[in-house]
Each structure stands twice: as structure tokens, then as C-alpha cells.
């Protein structure tokens, strides 16, 4: 569904991503891990079409993403790290707007909004202004806005930052539902336990390059073979990326 080949992106003299490649199939969740500044968000931005790679390509079902209005962008849904919502508008008006960006109108838009709000458990708050929502509700609405147009690929950039365990669990259940529907989910986070629970495969990037691409079990076995005694994903992560601070 998604193929990322040899992506490179620099900002002036800073090379944010030097060489990132991986693939993602439908019905799969891929956890994208990396320390601060490793290049995760830049990679997600290139996949979403927000940044133009200096080199490499992003293939959506074999189609190379090209240009702002490439129809292939309809197959991608982005859930940014920020709560990218209009606080003054109601949940429904937010979704109505974001749906219209994908030319959804009329009954199709109404149905998509109802479906998305039901999935994230906000149907009864549809008419309320977002500014009255809790942090967890906003996070769930942020997710709903990303999947409103029924994308095949969902890019989730730290979608659970700052939410309580109940909302986090609800989001996990939403993601598992989407996975069961055959969606391909790229999930970036700093929370190792989230990836342990959700991800079918894990890609670890550091200094702009992929340092590991495997299943959880594969990573654990690989690190255990090299260093011995690695049991948790966090141990594996620290072994692969080092313990120095990345401020």
C-alpha cells in the first residue's frame, strides 16, 4: 500500500532525513520510533505531501505522489501531532470543513461525519464547540478528522500526547478497528508500550536513517543476540539508538 524509498530531506545544512526506506501493507500497523530529532516527523511530512523530498520517492499503491492536487493524496489521512482543529467551531463544523477539502458534500459528507464521530465516541457532542472539549476528546476528534474521507493509509504522528488512559485506550481500540478494516496505519510515538501493543512491525530511525525494521519479536531476538538480555522494546530502542540525550 505504501512504499517509502530512499527519502532524503535537508533544511539548509541540516540533514533531517538522510536515507529512509520502508513499506507498509493494508491491515498493518507500523510503529515508527526514533529519538527527538531523528527524522520521524519529517518522514511523515514527506509521505503526506507536506514536504518535497530532496531525493527518493513515496509510492501510494504503486503511484508516485506528485503535486499538491495528486488524487493519490485522497488515499492518505493525516493525524498531526498538534490538535489541528478550530476551537470556535463545533465538532460537526470542523469535520464538515475537513471533509469538504476532499470534495465530500451532501449526504456523503453527512454520513462520513456520522461514521467518524461514532467511531471516536463523540456523536453526542457533534454540535458542541471544540473549545468545550477535554484534551482526550480533542485527540479523538483529531483522529476523526484524519479518517473522515476514508483513506487507505492513516499517518498518525504521536496521536496520544497528553491524553488520559481512558482516551488513549479508546484511541487504541479505534486504531485496531481501522486495522481490521484493512487500513494501513503508520504510527509514530515515544511511548514504547503503545507500539508494543499495536504495531505489527517497527521501524526505528536515528540521525535520519533507518537503523532497524522488524517485528517486535525480531527486534528483541536481534538485540538479544548482539547484546544479550534485551526483553522490552525500550531496552531494544536504547540499545540501537544509544543513551545520550537528544535535546
Amino acid at each position: 500500500m505504501l512504499n517509502v524509498n530512499n527519502l532524503r530531506k535537508s533544511f539548509g545544512t541540516l540533514v533531517a532525513v538522510s536515507d529512509v526506506s520502508f513499506s507498509l501493507d493494508g491491515g498493518q500497523i507500523l510503529g515508527l520510533l526514533g529519538p527527538n530529532g531523528a527524522g520521524k516527523t519529517t518522514t511523515v511530512s514527506m509521505i503526506a505531501g507536506l514536504l518535497t523530498p530532496d531525493r527518493g520517492e513515496v509510492l501510494i499503491a504503486g503511484h508516485r505522489l506528485a503535486g499538491d492536487t495528486d488524487p493519490a493524496k485522497r488515499r492518505i489521512g493525516l493525524v498531526p501531532q498538534d490538535l489541528a482543529l478550530y476551537d470556535e467551531l463545533s465538532a460537526r463544523d470542523n469535520l464538515r470543513f475537513f471533509g469538504a477539502l476532499y470534495t465530500l458534500t451532501g449526504r456523503a459528507l453527512d454520513e462520513a461525519i456520522a461514521r467518524a464521530l461514532t467511531l471516536v465516541g463523540l456523536a453526542d457532542r457533534a454540535r458542541d464547540a471544540v473549545k468545550t472539549f477535554s484534551g482526550g476528546m480533542k485527540r479523538r476528534l483529531n483522529l476523526a478528522a484524519g479518517l473522515l474521507h476514508d483513506p487507505d493509509i492513516l499517518l498518525l504522528d504521536e496521536p496520544t500526547v497528553g491524553v488520559d488512559p481512558q482516551s488513549r485506550n479508546a484511541i487504541f481500540e479505534n486504531l485496531e478497528t481501522l486495522k481490521a478494516q484493512g487500513k494501513a496505519l503508520l504510527y509514530t510515538t515515544h511511548y514504547m508500550e503503545e507500539v508494543e501493543r499495536l504495531a505489527d512491525r517497527i521501524v526505528i530511525v536515528d540521525h535520519g536513517a533507518v537503523v532497524a525494521d522488524d517485528t517486535l519479536a525480531g527486534l528483541q531476538s536481534r538485540v538479544a543476540t548482539v547484546g544479550g538480555g534485551a526483553e522490552t522494546l525500550e531496552s531494544v530502542f536504547l540499545t540501537l539508538t544509544g543513551r545520550s540525550l537528544r535535546d
Binding site: F11, A16, A48, D68
Partner: protein, 430 residues
């Protein structure tokens, strides 16, 4: 350009605008309030039967027939509001700003002025104490007092006791003088004729026979407005100026909101959707233009209903200028979004830029009060064209031809702002 996303973005911007009570108040109520205030000040004398009188104090230390004549003339002058304090009190009043000008007629002024009127005698000084912050009023008072002094002096010298006495004093002096005979003869004939004139008119106490030297003309004033029956309405200018000022602020705020949208990650959503850059900027431009038009037309509608402002020129021209102004302001907002780094820095810089533009553009005070060179320089300010254009279409009553140039210039500014905004806009979202 995809229509559905464009319409959705415009609708969303309008929803956001009307959900922000502060923005609505700033865009509609505040300009109406300030324009009403400015309009009431600058409406012009034709709207009032009674002109604003200048506060003038006259201190008469001479108490002569001439000085009393000056005071009497000034008291009847419709341009002056006269008081009669002592000199110390007059000085204090001017210093404190309660009186604009104080005129001090010193002791011996009438005698000396009369002598200087017919001969080369030394001219007596008329003291004028003035508030330096009222230079325009000083010039006006100087002119008004010149008229009253000339009238009082000439009246006394041609018909008063002082004039008679001076002729009687002067005739023997001329007889004794060593001037050439022909000149002496002519001068004696003239003074003799004046003396005969005096002998046929009553002296002081009788009915005044001479009016003295008066202005040898009257003025027929005609305000060049839309028509002879159309009075100048200062509200037309003030509502244009304030309307433009506040819609520029509203549009600058739209630009700042775009920077805030970027900070909040909303532009990531917008850019990840299959929407072109032209649609994104075009939608912002369209919503900004709509909001600007609403701001302008609500202000003008209020002015038309409450203050009887009328489109005396071309309605089509008025609409065209409104569209030009709205487009210019909306593109200015996009420029703010394109060149601004952060919302806070953009707010500071744009507030300064807008205030300079509206000040130079004549939105606060008419551009004709500027020095000549500055009046030329302000032609590079779009607000100047906007204000002049609205003035032309409202109280000046100039037809569609008068709107063509302002519209062209405003559209040109809009195009330039858009081009710079599109070139400088940060499209990549990291």
C-alpha cells in the same frame, strides 16, 4: 480551482469571523463609533448655521475712539467669541489654552495709528498674544483684526474728532513747509476739501457719517460638492477613512490567524489534502474580500441612514471602489501571513504599517493639510486612492470616470500584494 474546498474554506473563515465577538466589534461597531465622532468634528461649516467661533480676548489699554471702534467691530464679528479681560488675565488665559489669541491695544494706539494713516508717522504696534498650537487660528485672527483696525482708523480719520483735529494741526504745518510750490498747493487743496467735508458732517455724538474703509468687495462662496443644493457631508469622508482603517486591521488579523493556524498544525491538514495552492490562497483572498466588503458596506449603510451620507456620484463607481479596497485589504492580509514570522511579531509590524498608511492616506485628516511634497508622496499609499475614490463617489458627486483611476490603482496594489504573498508564502510544513 476546486470549488467545493474553496467554498468550504470561505464559509469556515466567515464562521470563525462571526464567532469572534472581538473581531466583529472591531470591524463593525468601533469604526462606526469613531467615524461618527470624526464626522461630527469635520463636517464643515455648511452643516452648521453658527460657525465655530475663535476665542479671542481684547485688552483695550488705549480707550480712544479708534480703539473702541476696533473693539466694537470685533464684537460683531461672527468669527470671534470675544472677552474683555485685563492684560495679565489675558496672558494667563492664552497660556492655559482657554483663549486662542489675545489682542492688546496699547495706550496711544489710536493717536499714533491716526497719524500714521495720513503721514509717515511711526506705526504703533498692536500686541498679539497667541497659543502656538493654534497657528491656523492666529492667521485668521490677524486677518480679521486688520479689517477692523483699518475700518476703525479710517472712520475716525475721515469723520471723527481726531481726524478734524489732525487736519487743523496739519494745515499750518503744510503752509510753513518748504516743499515745492505745486506739491504744497495740491496738498493744501486736498486737506481743504477734507475740512469742507468735515464741516458738512456732524462731529462725534451725531449720526456716523463715515463708515471708514471697508472691504471693497463681498464674497460669494460656493462649495463645489455634487450639486448646488448638496452640502458637504464630513461623515462621508470619515466613514470612508475609518472603514478602510478598520478593515485593514481586520485583514491583518486574518493574516495573523493564518500564522496561528500554522502554529496549531491546521496548515498540515490543509496541505495534506489534494487542494492546490491557488485554491488555498484564493479562498483566503475571497473570504477576506467578503469580510472587507461587509465591513465597508455596513459602515456606509449606517452613515447613509443616520448621517444622510449619499452616493452623489456613480453607484457603479462606488461598488467598484469598494471591491478594489476590499481586494487590496484582503491581499494585504495574505501579505502579512506570507512575510510574518510569528503572530506576535506580525501584529506589531502590521499595526505600525496600517497606522502609517491610514495617516498618510488621509483617513484621519484630509491629505490637503499635508505639505505639497507629502501630498505627492502619499500617492504611493493605497489608502489615499481609496479615500479619494470614496470622496469622489460620495460628496464630490463625480461620475464613473472619477472611479476608474482609483479602482485601477487599488486592483494594482491587490495584484502586487498577492504576487509577493504567493512568492513569499511558506508552503512546506515540517
Amino acid at each position: 480551482m476546486a470549488l467545493v474546498p474553496l467554498v468550504a474554506m470561505v464559509r469556515k473563515d466567515l464562521q470563525l469571523f462571526f464567532s469572534d465577538r472581538r473581531a466583529v466589534i472591531m470591524s463593525f461597531l468601533v469604526p462606526i463609533a469613531i467615524a461618527s465622532f470624526f464626522g461630527s468634528i469635520f463636517s464643515g461649516p455648511s452643516r452648521n448655521a453658527e460657525p465655530a467661533r475663535i476665542a479671542v480676548a481684547i485688552v483695550d489699554q488705549d480707550d480712544s475712539a479708534i480703539s473702541r471702534g476696533i473693539v466694537a467691530g470685533a464684537q460683531t464679528d461672527r468669527n470671534l467669541r470675544l472677552t474683555r479681560p485685563g492684560e495679565a488675565e489675558a496672558r494667563d488665559a492664552v497660556r492655559r489654552g482657554r483663549t486662542v489669541v489675545a489682542v492688546v491695544i496699547p495706550k496711544g494706539f489710536g493717536e499714533a495709528a491716526g497719524n500714521a494713516f495720513f503721514s509717515n508717522g511711526e506705526k504703533p504696534p498692536l500686541g498679539i498674544l497667541y497659543d502656538p498650537s493654534h497657528a491656523m487660528e492666529l492667521a485668521m485672527v490677524r486677518g480679521v483684526m486688520t479689517e477692523h483696525v483699518m475700518q476703525a482708523v479710517s472712520r475716525e480719520m475721515f469723520g471723527g474728532d481726531q481726524g478734524r483735529a489732525m487736519i487743523e494741526r496739519t494745515l499750518p504745518d503744510v503752509q510753513r513747509s518748504t516743499m515745492p510750490a505745486d506739491q504744497k498747493r495740491l496738498l493744501l487743496e486736498m486737506l481743504g476739501s477734507v475740512q469742507k467735508f468735515y464741516s458738512r458732517t456732524p462731529a462725534a455724538g451725531g449720526a456716523p457719517a463715515a463708515r471708514g474703509i471697508t472691504m471693497p468687495y463681498t464674497v460669494r462662496e460656493e462649495a463645489m460638492t455634487a450639486g448646488s443644493n448638496v452640502a458637504y457631508n464630513g461623515y462621508a469622508h470619515s466613514f470612508a477613512g475609518m472603514g478602510i482603517q478598520f478593515l485593514l486591521f481586520a485583514m491583518a488579523n486574518l493574516g495573523v490567524e493564518m500564522l496561528l493556524e500554522r502554529q496549531r498544525g491546521l496548515w498540515k491538514r490543509l496541505r495534506s489534502a489534494p487542494v492546490s495552492r491557488v485554491t488555498l490562497l484564493g479562498a483566503k483572498f475571497a473570504s477576506g474580500t467578503l469580510i472587507s466588503l461587509m465591513t465597508l458596506w455596513v459602515s456606509f449603510a449606517f452613515a447613509m441612514i443616520v448621517f444622510r451620507v449619499r452616493i452623489e456620484g456613480s453607484v457603479v463607481g462606488f461598488v467598484g471602489i469598494s471591491l478594489g479596497v476590499a481586494a487590496m485589504a484582503a491581499s494585504f492580509g495574505l501579505l502579512v501571513a506570507a512575510v510574518g514570522n510569528t503572530p506576535a511579531s506580525a501584529r506589531g509590524v502590521t499595526s505600525f504599517a496600517i497606522l502609517i498608511m491610514v495617516m498618510l492616506g488621509g483617513a484621519w485628516v484630509p491629505a490637503f493639510v499635508f505639505p505639497a511634497w507629502l501630498q505627492q508622496v502619499t500617492l504611493i499609499v493605497p489608502v489615499r486612492w481609496a479615500v479619494d475614490g470614496f470622496d469622489a463617489m460620495t460628496w464630490r458627486g463625480i461620475g464613473l470616470a472619477g472611479a476608474v483611476m482609483p479602482i485601477a490603482v487599488l486592483v494594482g496594489f491587490a495584484a502586487a500584494f498577492m504576487a509577493i504573498a504567493a512568492a513569499r508564502f511558506r508552503w512546506e510544513e515540517a
